[in-house]
Subunit: 392 residues, 2 copies
C-alpha cells in the first residue's frame, strides 16, 4: 500500500529540481515568457508529443537527439517555432549552445504563434537571466501561459509502506486547441522517484489516454503538444503501482484544469459513455459529444437539448440504437429506451443541473460493456472573441 498526499511546490517539490520564470520581452505586457526546469543531477526522460504531421521544430530537435539523459528544459511562450523548417531547429541549437556548463543535453519547448522564426536575440538574452538555484515553480508555470487565464501546477508526495517516499510534480499550460488526440498543451513533470526509463514511458503512455487525450476544447490538434517527464532518482524510492497512480493523478488534475480554463469556457462537463460495444467505441462516442459544436453551444445556453446528444451519438459512427439508448443529466434520466421523460418540469430540473460549473452527461448505449469518460467545456462568445484575432 501507499499514500498519495497533495503538496505545494509544483515541479520544485522533487529533490534536486529547480525552476523559475523570467521576462525576455516576448510578451508585450512584460509578463514572464521564459521558464526553465533544472535538475542538479541527470535525469531519464519520457515523452509524448503531438500526432500533428507539421510538428514543430522543438519536437524534431528532441527526436534528433536519440536516446539521452538531460537535466534542463527551457520553455518560451509567444512563439511556437512551428512551420519554420530546418532553420527552426538550427535556431534551437543556437539558443541551447548558450546554456550554463552544468547543463547536460538541454531540451527546448515552445508555444505561441505558428510560422514566425524564433526571436533568437531576445531569447538568448533571456537565457542569461536564469538563476538555476531558484525554486519557483509558480513563476515558471506563469511564464508558459498563452491564452490561459490561470497558471496550472500540482505536486504529490508519495509515502510507501517501507517508510520511504518520493515526490512528483508538474506545471502545464493549455486552454485552447485542446483535443482528444493531444493539443496545444505543454506539461512538464518532475520526479525524484527511482524509476527506470521504460517504466516511466509505459506509465506516461497509459496515463495520457485517459487524461490529456480525453479532453476537448475545440477539437483541433496543435503542432507543439508536449508532455515531458524527468526523473532524477534522488529519493531512492519507487513502487510501480504507486508511481503510476501518482502520475495519473498529476495528469488528470492538470487535464481538468485545462478544460476548466478552455477559452471562454464556463462549465466542465464529464461525458460518461457506458454500454458501448467496446471501450474504443465508448471513447469515440464520448469524444464526439465533447467535440460537438451543437452540444457545446447548448451547454453554454444551459439548454438541456438532449436531442442533440442523441443525434451526436448517432452521427459518431458507433453502434447505437434509438430503442437501447439512455441519456441522463447527472442523475436525471431524460430518455430511456424509447421513453421520453422530458416534460416542462424535467426541463426545468435539467436546466438547474446545467447551471452548475461541473456536471455529468451520461449515455448508456445498452449494447455491451465498453465505457469511457471524456471531459469537455461549453463554447461561448468569449471563445469566438479570443480566437477571431489571436495573432494581434
Amino acid at each position: 500500500m501507499y499514500n498519495i498526499v497533495y503538496s505545494q511546490g509544483g515541479v520544485c517539490l522533487s529533490d534536486g529540481f529547480f525552476a523559475d520564470g523570467i521576462s525576455a520581452g516576448l510578451k508585450k505586457d512584460g509578463a514572464n515568457d521564459m521558464a526553465f526546469i533544472y535538475s542538479d543531477v541527470e535525469c531519464v526522460v519520457a515523452s509524448v508529443f503531438t500526432t500533428n504531421k507539421m510538428c514543430a521544430a522543438p519536437i524534431r530537435h528532441f527526436r534528433s537527439m536519440g536516446d539521452f539523459k538531460s537535466n534542463f528544459i527551457v520553455i518560451n511562450s509567444k512563439n511556437a517555432n512551428a512551420m519554420t523548417g530546418e532553420a527552426g531547429v538550427e535556431d534551437i541549437k543556437e539558443v541551447l549552445s548558450t546554456c550554463k556548463d552544468s547543463v547536460k543535453n538541454p531540451i527546448m519547448s515552445s508555444t505561441g504563434v505558428i510560422g514566425v522564426r524564433l526571436p533568437k536575440a531576445k531569447i538568448i538574452e533571456g537565457m542569461k537571466l536564469f538563476d538555476l538555484s531558484k525554486k519557483d515553480s509558480n513563476s515558471a508555470s506563469k511564464a508558459i501561459m498563452t491564452t490561459d487565464t490561470f497558471a496550472k501546477e500540482i505536486a504529490f508526495n508519495v509515502k510507501l509502506d517501507d517508510g520511504s517516499s518520493f515526490n512528483i510534480g508538474a506545471i502545464a499550460k493549455g486552454a485552447g486547441m485542446i483535443n482528444p488526440a493531444m493539443a496545444t498543451m505543454l506539461c512538464f513533470i518532475t520526479t525524484d522517484a527511482k524509476v527506470s526509463k521504460s517504466d516511466m514511458q509505459e506509465a506516461l503512455d497509459e496515463a495520457v489516454k485517459t487524461t490529456f487525450n480525453a479532453i476537448s476544447v475545440d477539437g483541433d490538434t496543435s503542432t507543439n503538444d508536449t508532455v515531458l517527464l524527468l526523473a532524477n532518482s534522488k529519493s531512492g524510492a519507487y513502487d510501480k503501482a504507486a508511481f503510476a497512480e501518482a502520475l495519473f493523478k498529476v495528469m488528470h488534475f492538470l487535464a481538468l484544469e485545462m478544460v476548466r480554463d478552455g477559452e471562454g469556457a464556463t462549465k466542465l462537463v464529464t461525458y460518461k459513455v457506458t454500454g458501448a460495444k467496446d471501450d474504443k467505441e465508448a471513447e469515440i462516442a464520448a469524444k464526439a459529444l465533447s467535440d460537438s459544436l451543437l452540444v457545446k453551444t447548448a451547454l453554454f445556453g444551459e439548454d438541456p437539448n438532449w436531442g442533440r446528444i442523441a443525434s451526436t451519438i448517432g452521427a459518431s459512427g458507433v453502434e447505437a440504437y434509438e430503442d437501447k439508448l439512455k441519456i441522463s443529466f447527472d442523475n436525471l434520466c431524460v430518455y430511456d429506451k424509447g421513453n421520453i421523460y422530458f416534460d416542462a418540469e424535467m426541463e426545468k430540473k435539467c436546466a438547474v443541473v446545467m447551471q452548475h460549473q461541473k456536471f455529468t452527461i451520461s449515455c448508456d448505449l445498452g449494447i455491451g460493456n465498453g465505457s469511457f469518460k471524456a471531459y469537455g467545456c461549453d463554447l461561448g462568445h468569449e471563445y469566438v472573441k479570443i480566437n477571431a484575432d489571436y495573432r494581434t
Copy 2:
C-alpha cells in the same frame, strides 16, 4: 450538346408539378410551416438520407415502403419527429392517411426540434389547407425554413440538340448542422425529364459527393438529412449527360446557398486541396479545414492565420510534409515549401482578401494528384447566439 438555362419557378417549373406552403400554427409567428409538392402523374423517386444512426421517423417510414412510385411530399418545419420511436412512424401514417384521393404513396419529411412527438392535430388540420392546384414554389421554400435567413430555390430548363427540352428545379433548407457527411438539410428536386430510376439514383449519388457532402457549417450530422428527387417523365425528353450536369448545377447552387446562410456566417470560403496522395486524402484535408473551429474563427476575425491552416492539414491525418506544402489566399502565396512569404505587407494584402464575402484558400500538398474542393463559412458570435438557445 445541350444548353442549361436558368429559369424561375423552382419545383413548379417542371410540367405537372405543383407546390405551396401554408401555416399550420407550428411556428409561433404564424409564418408558413407546412409545404407540399405534388405531381399530377406518378413519379419515380431517388433519395439520399443521413448516415446518422438515430435517423428520424420520416426516413424510417420512407424505407419501410420498399420500392414505390409517389406523387406527393408533405414537409413540416419546427418538429423533426426524431427520437420518437415507432410512435413517430405511426404518427406519420396517421397524418398521411388524410391525403386527398389523387395522392399515391405520399412521403413525409420533417425538420426541427428532436425528441418531441409530432403535433399531429395541427398537422392534420394543415393538410386540409393544401390546394393541390397551386404552383407556388417560393411559398413552399419558405415553409420549410428553420434557422435559414433566406429561402432557397433554383430551376433550370435544359434544351437538347433534337429540339426537345426538360426542366429540373428544387427547393432546400439548411443553415446549421451542415456537415460533410450530410446535414440538417432538406432538398426536394422535381423534374419532368424522362429519366429511369436507376439513372436518377446514380446521378444523385454522384452529385451529392461534391455538393451537399462537401459543405460544412459546424461538422454535426443531423438525424433528418434528406434529398428527394421526383421525376414524372412528362417532357418526354432526356439525355444522360445533360441530366447529370443539370442535377449537379441544382445541387451545387443550393449547397453553396446553405453555406452562405450558415448560422451567423459572413463569408463563403472554398478550400481547394491539390497535390494530395489521392482524391480521398484531398477530401479529408479539405473537410478538416472547413470543419476547424480555429480556422473558422480566424476567418471571422479576418485574420490570415496561415499557421492554423498548416496545423489543421497536419492534424487531419493525411500524408503531408512541411517542406512540400504550399498555402495561398486567393492568388497570394504565403508559404511555399519551407519559404514563408508573410511579412507585414503580405498580411495586409491577405486581410483584404479575407474581407471579401467569397474567397479561396488553396493548399497544395505537393505529393500526388489528389484534389478536392470543400466549402465552408466562418463562425462568429451569431452562431453561438443562435445555437445557445435554439429550443426556446
